[in-house]
């Protein structure tokens, strides 16, 4: 069982060694959230924490389109949790904020016209953000107002699950134009073989 509050140097070190990459935008959207809520001062605190923990992450030099080790995103989320005292709901809220300003998501806005289309394009959209993990829409029940997502091969950190839960919730809300709720019903960190997210509205 992974301790979500563990932000020790060894944990950070192990996270930085994880295989797989994440788009710079994933980290930058979280930083944007911090800047908007805590200003540059908040970002400065974050940079200081990242430096103190011995991470090589230089927030100022991150590029939206570049890929970085996936652990960088996780380390940043943990640093944010530590510096600003974010609970899991707040991390999820940060994930909800990201689709609003994601440049890559804008590329796929053309699929934001129906659940069928977005379900069809979900794997491709995922690949725009991560080099690991496979996202599929395993169930779409419009009349029952429920969509089920499955994420395989993504054993990173539970904090990423919180963040992704918020991200999926917002994206689906934008597709159906209704208030949605997302819950991770299966998680590899709870002993299951894949992640499953249930989105209802």
């Amino acid at each position: 069982m992974v301790n979500i509050d563990d932000f020790s140097p060894p944990t950070v070190k192990s996270l930085l060694r994880l295989k797989g990459k994440t788009r710079g935008e994933n980290i930058l959207l979280d930083i944007r959230f911090i800047r908007r809520n805590y200003g540059n001062e908040g970002v400065g605190k974050l940079e200081k924490t990242l430096s103190e923990i011995g991470s090589p992450i230089n927030l100022a030099q991150l590029k939206t389109g570049d890929f970085y080790p996936i652990g960088w995103e996780t380390v940043c989320l943990l640093a944010i949790r530590k510096v600003f005292g974010f609970d899991e709901e707040k991390i999820k809220e940060m994930g909800q904020d990201a689709p609003k300003f994601s440049i890559f998501l804008k590329i796929f806005m053309k699929y934001f016209v129906s659940l069928g289309k977005i379900a069809q394009e979900a794997p491709r959209i995922w690949r725009e953000y991560y080099t690991i993990g496979d996202l599929t829409v395993v169930g779409v029940n419009e009349s029952g107002k429920r969509v089920v997502l499955r994420l395989d091969n993504f054993d990173v950190h539970p904090i990423n699950c919180c963040n992704l839960s918020g991200f999926f919730q917002r994206v689906l809300s934008m597709v159906i134009n209704a208030k949605t709720f997302c819950q991770e019903t299966k998680c590899v960190f709870r002993g299951e073989s894949f992640h499953q997210f249930d989105i209802t509205w």
Binding site: K63, D66, F101, M109, F112, V113, M174, N177
Partner: protein, 514 residues
């Protein structure tokens, strides 16, 4: 070899990525720079993008509206129609919608939309651009209010104009149809208006003389006679007669016209008195004829009665004498009346000839007073006479007529002063004039009757009660006589207290020949 190829490919990819990042920044900057509020909406009505200008106009931050329904910033029904029409037509131009601000205000906005399609020509959403019409609407409302106010003013002005026009038409109709002639000279004495009646009087046409100055009118044309009468400065006259020809006599009055202290010009009224004059003349002729015809038999009656009373026809009884005396006195009064009527007709016909000679007014007065002394005494009146100098006071006058005037004044004092009253006669020299004054403590003249006291046949109401037999011609003749001598006559009176009648004549040195 494979590694070299991969590195080359990676370098190319990095370059493309850098270009894309730069392009994204450019689009971002452009989008953010636009002062026009813009947003991008998904086909199902989710706000996917907004720019800072839209943030500014709605008050919502980007993160508060992106991902939210379009209904957050537009009225639900209006948004629904906008989406429907945009997706159907591909475009909506300049539609007015209510934009909902964060503060709850409703902003009137003009909205245009354009759909965005993907490479497969499928609609992926639409852009909305909008203009805040608040200020324009406010200005529009203000303009509308001003327009309404102006229209009201215009309406009022139009009504006032119509009213003024009506008034003008009425005035014009009055002027045109007036039986009096009217002409108006402006402040520079140019003829500005002449009505048809005036045209008819003088045989002129308005178009020939309007605009002409009175000085040029004096010198030529049919209007010369009235123009000369008025003079180059348009003298002020009131009911002065102008004889146009044997049959036409006009009475002229002028009135200076002004408004708020500004001199506008002079209005001249020509009133045709020809008919009145003709009637008056006929009346005077009749009176003259009747008086002449009556005087001869009355004289015969007088002398016959005198002879009987004097005993020429034999002795008469006392009772008979008394009857005859009364008849004689009545006949005398009738002769006096006839004489007055004859004098009146002479005055009115202009035949009242004055034969002026240098005479001593004091002496004349004493002679007349002498003839009244017994009468004053018999009535119980106290009579006084004041003379500033015992020297003769010469005037140029007709003796008979001057005596008649003094007689008239004394006769009135005698008739209308009750017993125990006082009558004073004074004769004063004042500068180049001599003034005769008859003061009494009689009945006086009511204020409302004073204005007509010198009118022909007029008698005061109190006077009629006291002396029913008067003719009302005495003062009329006195006035004509004194004015005929170049003098002035006047009076002051208070009802119940008495009157002062006076006349003045120019004083002359003795021996001045006429």
């Amino acid at each position: 070899m494979f590694n070299i190829f991969r590195e080359k490919k990676q370098t190319e990819l990095n370059l493309v990525l850098d270009d894309l990042t730069a392009l994204e920044q450019y689009i971002h900057d452009l989008f953010n720079f636009s002062p026009l509020p813009v947003c991008f909406i998904s086909p199902i009505g989710v706000i996917l993008e907004v720019n800072p200008a839209l943030e500014k106009v709605t008050g919502f931050k980007m993160d508060e509206v992106i991902g939210e329904s379009i209904e957050k910033i537009f009225d639900k029904d209006e948004a629904s129609f906008l989406i429907r029409d945009t997706l159907k037509e591909g475009v909506v131009d300049n539609r007015e919608l209510l934009l909902l601000s964060k503060g709850g205000n409703k902003i009137i906005a003009q909205v245009s939309t354009r759909v965005r399609k993907d490479e497969n020509n499928e609609t992926v959403g639409f852009f909305i651009s909008l203009s805040d019409l608040t200020r324009i609407k406010k200005t529009e409302a203000e303009l509308k209010r001003i327009q309404e106010a102006l229209l009201n003013i215009l309406e009022d002005t139009e009504q006032a104009r119509k009213k003024a026009e009506e008034e003008r038409n009425k005035t014009e109709a009055i002027i045109v149809n007036l039986t009096d002639g009217l002409v108006f000279f402006d402040r520079n004495h140019n003829l500005a208006m002449i009505n048809p009646q005036a045209e008819k009087f003088f045989g002129v046409k308005a178009e020939d003389i309007v605009g002409e100055n009175i000085k040029s009118l004096i010198n030529s044309g049919n209007f010369a006679l009235p123009a000369k009468f008025l003079g180059p400065e348009i003298k002020t006259v009131f009911r002065k007669e102008l004889v146009l020809d044997r049959h036409t006599i006009l009475e002229i009055s002028t009135s200076a016209m002004g408004s708020e202290g500004e001199d506008l010009g002079d209005l001249v009224v020509f009133h045709d008195v020809s008919r009145e004059k003709a009637v008056e003349r006929l009346k005077t002729e009749f009176v003259s004829l009747a008086a002449h015809q009556l005087r001869t038999p009355l004289s015969a009656i007088k002398w016959s009665l005198r002879m009987v009373l004097d005993g020429d026809a034999g002795k008469i009884k006392q009772e008979q004498r008394e009857i005859l005396e009364k008849t004689y006195q009545s006949n005398e009064r009738m002769i006096s009346l006839i004489n007055d009527l004859l004098n009146l007709s002479r005055i009115e016909e202009g035949r009242y000839v004055i034969n002026p000679v240098a005479l001593d007014l004091a002496k004349i007065c004493l002679q007349v007073i002498e003839s009244f002394k017994d009468s004053f005494s018999n009535k119980g009146l106290k009579f006084k006479i004041f003379q500033s100098s015992l020297k003769p006071i010469f005037v140029i006058a007709d003796e008979e007529k001057l005596k008649l005037t003094v007689q008239n004044l004394l006769d009135n004092a005698l008739k209308y002063t009750p017993a125990k009253g006082v009558v004073e006669v004074s004769l004063k020299q004042i500068g180049k004039n001599v003034r005769l004054e008859v003061r009494d403590t009689g009945i006086g003249i009511a204020k409302e009757e004073q204005g007509r006291i010198f009118s022909k046949f007029f008698r005061g109401s109190q006077a009629v009660l006291i002396e029913p037999t008067g003719t009302g011609l005495g003062l009329y003749m006195a006035k004509n006589i004194i004015e005929g001598h170049g003098g002035k006559i006047g009076f002051s009176s208070e009802q119940g207290k008495g009157s002062v009648f006076y006349f003045t004549l120019p004083k002359q040195k003795k021996g001045v020949s006429l």
